[in-house]
């Protein structure tokens, strides 16, 4: 029985529908995100994975409306509690950032202002969302509370970013992201610059504060190990489209889309040696995308219609979404 999608959507925090984003380049427009739809349940952790150029970061930044100037959101809706973020005024969107949807950016540690003490940067974040009235003392109480929740001592407030280690800077960025109790936290490869030991500590901190807050998280990245350890569901992107969405265990143990199958097989493990199974072929050029399914030129199971018709993302089993003609009605 296929679950009623509308029911699921009613309960979700974030509902992204048919998002389309292009970059304008000298060589012509590049469709980086091409009709992406997904939803986020309350307090869930969703992973968005894909190779570079798959559109995962562009998707994440579109939700915050923090794209580069060359990027244009051409269509779609980003419904946060029913309100379309793409249609908010600049000022309303500014107020929504951090307060309702926040971002821990890629290489977050370099996103801190090197000239400003950590405490001042955190105060700024609160100030930008309050119209006076609140004293510095109440700000600082909240800041100290949040710093403590990410395992930082209060003295960090009087430090400049360069005085902190990479892991500590990353924790400051998490603190900033949760300062105003957002409903959704987007973390874009938050630990890619950190060592494994620190990475694990930072991810466990993020999980703890997210659970305490009851916020939902979108973790963007390509580290499948991190995904396996951190998220509840995974969305797999390829060539600007979501090709599969499902629970983390299903994606790893029973992947449905041929791309996901090859991706899972390509992962190194500690069981076998010298057993490398890369995915043959190359990622598609977004300037001249192939017709039909973006993956068909590399797909070992491609059929004739794959080079003609674009497969739509459909729920083929409860909570298992896949965009592939192998699962067209009557064939699976």
């Amino acid at each position: 029985m296929v679950r009623d999608r509308a029911q699921d959507r009613d309960a979700c925090v974030l509902d992204v529908r048919d998002l389309r984003v292009s970059y304008h380049t000298a060589a012509g427009p590049v469709r980086a995100v091409n009709g992406v739809s997904f939803f986020l349940r309350p307090a869930e952790r969703l992973g968005l994975v894909g190779e570079s150029g798959s559109g995962k970061t562009t998707t994440a930044l579109s939700l915050m409306r923090l794209l580069q100037e060359s990027a244009v959101i051409e269509g779609g809706e980003v419904l946060l509690d029913g309100v379309d973020l793409l249609r908010l005024s600049q000022e309303a969107m500014r107020l929504a950032r951090f307060a309702r949807i926040s971002l821990i950016p890629q290489g977050a540690m370099n996103s801190l202002n090197p000239m400003m003490k950590v405490g001042e940067q955190l105060r700024d974040t609160i100030r930008a969302h309050r119209n006076g009235g609140n004293s510095r003392v109440t700000f600082d109480t909240r800041i100290q509370e949040v710093l403590q929740s990410v395992d930082l001592y209060a003295g960090v407030m009087d430090r400049y970013p360069h005085e902190l280690s990479g892991g500590m800077k990353q924790r400051v960025c998490i603190a900033m992201a949760i300062l105003l109790n957002p409903k959704v936290i987007i973390a874009d490869e938050p630990t890619s610059a950190l060592d494994v030991v620190v990475q694990r500590q930072v991810m466990e901190t993020l999980r703890r504060v997210q659970e305490a807050l009851g916020a939902s998280v979108i973790l963007v990245g390509h580290d499948m190990g991190l995904m396996a350890q951190f998220v509840d569901r995974i969305g797999v992107m390829y060539g600007g489209k979501l090709v599969e969405v499902g629970p983390v265990r299903g994606i790893f143990k029973d992947p449905l889309h041929p791309y996901t199958q090859l991706l899972i097989k390509s992962l190194p493990n500690l069981q076998t040696k010298e057993d490398f199974r890369g995915i043959p072929g190359l990622t598609p050029s977004l300037l001249a995308p192939p017709p039909g399914c973006m993956f068909h030129p590399r797909c070992p199971q491609a059929m004739q219609r794959c080079s003609v018709d674009v497969p739509a993302l459909a729920e083929v089993k409860p909570d298992r979404w896949v965009a592939c003609h192998l699962y067209d009605r009557g064939q699976a």
Partner: protein, 342 residues
């Protein structure tokens, strides 16, 4: 056994200055041997600050050791004549993490590939040169027609990396030293690049020194592994022993922190170590005894007195930790020799 490339008790200290302020011992008495007789893949693993990149630069002759020496085919790099040095430069190739700095931004990437062809006379005609370049690009997973004629900034980090792999392949080296060659490359391509490196060993007899922070790919690709912690070898041996059954508390912390791509195998293990390691880390001051002692949950009085020697717990593994002092101590060079021989 003849050694092809060897680090003999190498130490490198940066920035001495008055009163030794700001003195950093980046590499501290490390010995490592790559055998000439048998192609091998040797991993050097560690986190940032472990000294793995400094060791790589020492092995390449880019910097000189403060003490100890680097030898190629038995000759010290510092004492080599011009001819031997040219041979060394051709036979030992390097691949770095982000090779952007290896490119001249005002030249097309073609130059990066055609220069070695010219310098080392790898081709007799223009067509042959082009063919060799195209072939090596394809081996690295690139379409020559989409790569040649471009400027470095027009390519992605992954593409730039694959060009460096292609460049190394072009020269038919004896040893390739790869410093985090796949850390900026996508998962699906990572396997392809590592496979091509392993194939170089199997089919062409090229030895590889694989420098990485990623224990999973180190396990997959290599036979032996050196685990570095703040410049010293903490544990060394076959990957089967070191990664499957780590003995040094630091190696155990590292292995248990690896996020395995399997939702059924949760981050687990050593909770005592985690608790200690989660505490704000002490500044990188010099520790008199074992460098891990201020993070180690098993720290004993002697750990703070003098750095532990390597203890040989197995034929193919040694651990620098007093917890294993019941095993016989072994010199770093002796251990490196016996691993290279195995």
């Amino acid at each position: 056994m003849k050694s092809l490339l060897e680090a003999r008790n190498v130490t490198r200290i940066f920035g001495s200055g008055l009163l030794h302020k700001g003195r950093t011992v980046a590499v501290d008495g490390v010995s490592l041997i790559i055998s000439e007789d048998k192609p091998s893949i040797t991993a050097i693993a560690g986190e940032s600050g472990s000294g793995k990149t400094t060791l790589a630069r020492l092995l390449l002759g880019m910097i000189q050791p403060t003490s100890g020496s680097i030898l190629y085919r038995g000759d010290s790099l510092t004492a080599m004549d011009g001819r031997a040095r040219k041979k060394f430069r051709r036979e030992v190739q390097a691949i770095f993490q982000d090779p952007y700095e290896a490119y001249n931004p005002v030249y097309k990437v073609d130059q990066t590939l055609s220069t070695p062809v010219r310098k080392f006379r790898l081709a007799h005609s223009k067509e042959e040169a082009h063919q060799r370049i195209a072939e090596s690009l394809r081996m690295a997973g690139l379409r020559p027609e989409e790569t040649l004629g471009r400027y470095p900034h027009q390519l992605s980090g992954g593409q730039r990396q694959r060009i460096m792999v292609a460049r190394a392949l072009l020269l038919n080296p004896r040893v390739i030293l790869a410093d985090e060659p796949v850390s900026m490359v996508d998962a699906s391509l990572r396997a392809t690049i590592l496979e091509s490196l392993v194939r170089l060993k199997r089919e062409l007899g090229i030895s590889l020194i694989y420098i990485t922070h990623d224990l999973t790919t180190a396990y997959q690709a290599s036979q032996n592994i050196y685990i570095l912690y703040r410049g010293s070898v903490a544990e060394v041996g076959s990957v089967e022993k070191v990664i499957k059954d780590p003995k040094h508390p630091y190696t155990r912390l590292l292995v248990s922190s690896v996020p395995l791509p399997d939702p059924d195998i949760r981050w687990g293990g050593e909770s005592a170590i985690e608790a200690r390691a989660s505490a704000p880390s002490a500044p990188l001051q010099e520790v008199r005894g074992c460098k891990f002692s201020n993070r180690c949950p098993y720290v004993m009085a002697e750990c703070r007195q003098a750095p532990p020697p390597l203890y040989r717990t197995d034929d193919d593994r040694a651990v620098a930790c007093y917890l294993h002092k019941n095993s016989a101590p072994v010199g770093g060079r002796e251990m490196a020799e016996s691993l290279a021989l195995a």
